[in-house]
Each structure stands twice: as structure tokens, then as C-alpha cells.
């Protein structure tokens, strides 16, 4: 059962991931569970400087909690997520840039902690595949349609004879009445 669920999640993720629609499962969950947002960030973690805190929140949303894996550390209640949130705030207080904080975490946990995979050689397929597939599909459709149109154009039918035209006119006139 778990395997099937995992396969479904995997195929869903593969289909949507590249297009950046990773929020869909979250949206679905919120349909099923109509509850208010449960804040994972504890009051004692919040920085006194609102600008710095806002940056910390944005960074936290991009970092994966490695325990629950499909939650960001901003959403997760896991102890490791809390530790990483505190770490992110400590790095910001120490004067790191946003990119610097992300680099600090990826140096320890790898690109896997980034919920938005970076664009580089190893992730090329992930990012390019959806557009490549769209392009191939579009080209195939265009080719197919063009071929069909030219096929109908080629099928030259003989013009109507005098007799046929008269009958057709009669039929059309009868229709008007």
C-alpha cells in the first residue's frame, strides 16, 4: 500500500515538479482538512528585528525538513526543523546573506534540503524535461495537423455537374420555406 502511495506521489511529483506546482498536495490537504494554519515557529525563536525575521521566514520556506521530508522547516514541528530555524536566524544575525545561509545549510545536508532544486548539470533533466516534452508534443501535433490539412486539400473531388447543381439548389430552396 505504501509502495503504491509512494509511486503515485512519485509520478505526481514527476509530472508537476518541473513546473513548480509542488504546492498542489498542500492545497489538496487543506481541502480535506479545513483547519487554520498551525504555526511551527515558536515565539521564542522569533527575532526582534522584523526585517531579519521576514528574511528568516522566507529562507525557512525553501529548506526541507529532513525528518518529515515534504515539509519545509518553516512548517515542521520536528526538533531538527526547530534547530535549523534557530540556525538560520543565528546565521542572519551573524550577517550572512540569504544565499550565504542557504549555502551554509547545503554544505552540511546537500542540495536535498532545498525544496526548489537548483538549476545545474545534475538537475538539467528535471528542469528541462517538462518543456522538452511540451515542445515535442507541440511539434508532433503541428505536424499531424498540417499533414491532415494537406491530405484533405489533395483529395480533389470533381466539380458538380449541371444536374447536381440544380438538385442542390432545389433542396436548398425547399429548406428556406
Amino acid at each position: 500500500m505504501r509502495r503504491i502511495a509512494r509511486a503515485c506521489a512519485l509520478s505526481l511529483g514527476l509530472g508537476l515538479g518541473g513546473l513548480g506546482l509542488t504546492l498542489t498536495p498542500l492545497a489538496l490537504t487543506s481541502l480535506v482538512l479545513p483547519v487554520g494554519p498551525a504555526w511551527a515557529v515558536q515565539p521564542d525563536e522569533v527575532l526582534p528585528d522584523p526585517a531579519l525575521e521576514a528574511r528568516a521566514r522566507e529562507i525557512s520556506k525553501d529548506l526541507r525538513c529532513l525528518v518529515c521530508q515534504n515539509q519545509s522547516i518553516d512548517d515542521s514541528n520536528a526538533p531538527l526543523a526547530r534547530d535549523l530555524r534557530v540556525l538560520v536566524r543565528d546565521r542572519l544575525k551573524a550577517g550572512d546573506s540569504d544565499a550565504g545561509v542557504l549555502a551554509y545549510v547545503t554544505d552540511r545536508y546537500g542540495d536535498y534540503v532545498l525544496l526548489r532544486p537548483p538549476f545545474k548539470a545534475t538537475t538539467l533533466v528535471l528542469w528541462v524535461a517538462p518543456f522538452a516534452i511540451l515542445l515535442i508534443g507541440g511539434l508532433a501535433t503541428a505536424l499531424f495537423l498540417r499533414r491532415r490539412r494537406s491530405a484533405t486539400a489533395e483529395a480533389d473531388t470533381a466539380p458538380l455537374t449541371e444536374d447536381e447543381r440544380r438538385r442542390l439548389d432545389a433542396l436548398l430552396r425547399k429548406d428556406d420555406l
Binding site: 509502495r3 509512494r6 509511486a7 529532513l66 526538533p79 531538527l80 534547530d83 554544505d107 552540511r108 545536508y109
Partner: protein, 177 residues
């Protein structure tokens, strides 16, 4: 040519199917460490109270060492403890430990109850050093070569199978090198 084109969707389907099937064999919890083949992070941890030796990066050179991250509150740690004890006492591998986010008295009581095979233990009360090691779930074990580089990481409890098939052969190779 045409026939091959008609086969293409089927072949694609088979390819995706094979990829997903292989995905079943992978443990989603097993995230490859970025620290493999890199020197251990620079750190210095104090000993547990009443003990003399803590753990620091400088103390991890010279001999092949297994660094085990454990906590008294961690149930799988207890499960792997006999395996680690055997590794240290019978199989002759130096085992040192990082005591992860534990209470000192709990850790000491746990070691009295379950035995202490560790050559030294560093107390990581806030878990910050564990983050430097990329730890995301205790227990974790790292194998360090004589130059102080991380050569192998295992997430989850060590089993006799992992020891026999992966750790002991690697220890033998690293001792020669």
C-alpha cells in the same frame, strides 16, 4: 520508421515503469551525505560530566575511527548498541561517540545500564555540532580514515550485516591505505 514511432509511447512507458520500480528499492530516508571524502567538520565537544575525554576534530586522526551519534532517548540506538559494543571490543575498531541532544545524567545512566564501548564521548547538548556533521536522524554512524576524512556514513541502527559487509572491509582497506 513509422512502426518505431508508434512503439515510442510504449517504450517510454516501459522506461518510466522501470525507473519507478527501481525507485521502490530505494530508502527515501537514506539521503546521500555531501561530507563523504571530506575532512570531518572542525568541532570541539566537552566530555560528559565526571569524565575526562570529550571529542574534537583533532582527536579523529591517526586511527580509523567509527563515530557514532547516539542519545539515551533514542530507541534504535539501544537496538544497535550490542553491535557497536561487539565492533569495539571484539572486532577491534575504535569507536567514539557524539551524544546528541541528551541530558548528561540520562546519558550517563544509559551507559551504565547498557555498557560503554566508546573510547571517548563528546556531549552535543544543543545539536549544533550534529548539524555540522549533517545528522538528521539518530543513530547515525560515520567511518573516519586515518587522515580524518569521512569515508562512509550509515543512517539508522547499525546491523551485523552492515558491519560485516560494509564497515569491516572498509576498515581493513583504510588501515592499509
Amino acid at each position: 520508421m513509422r512502426r518505431v514511432l508508434y512503439l515510442l509511447p510504449f517504450l517510454l512507458f516501459v522506461g518510466v515503469g522501470v525507473a519507478f520500480y527501481l525507485g521502490f528499492e530505494r530508502d527515501p530516508r537514506d539521503i546521500p551525505s555531501v561530507l563523504i571524502d571530506k575532512p570531518v567538520p572542525s568541532f570541539s565537544l566537552p566530555p560528559l560530566p565526571g569524565r575526562t575525554d570529550g571529542l574534537s576534530s583533532t582527536g579523529l586522526t591517526g586511527d580509523v575511527t567509527l563515530v557514532n551519534v547516539f542519545a539515551s532517548w533514542c530507541i534504535p540506538c539501544k537496538a544497535e548498541h550490542p553491535v557497536i559494543t561487539r565492533l569495539a571490543r571484539e572486532q577491534g575498531v575504535t569507536v567514539r561517540a557524539i551524544n546528541h541532544k541528551d541530558k548528561a545524567e540520562d546519558a550517563l545512566a544509559w551507559l551504565t545500564r547498557n555498557g560503554d564501548p566508546y573510547a571517548s564521548i563528546g556531549a552535543d547538548l544543543d545539536g549544533r555540532v550534529s548539524i555540522d556533521w549533517g545528522v538528521y536522524g539518530v543513530p547515525e554512524s560515520f567511518l573516519i580514515d586515518r587522515q580524518g576524512r569521512i569515508r562512509f556514513k550509515h543512517v539508522g541502527p547499525l546491523t551485523p550485516q552492515v558491519v560485516e559487509e560494509q564497515i569491516l572491509p572498509l576498515v581493513k582497506r583504510l588501515r592499509q591505505g
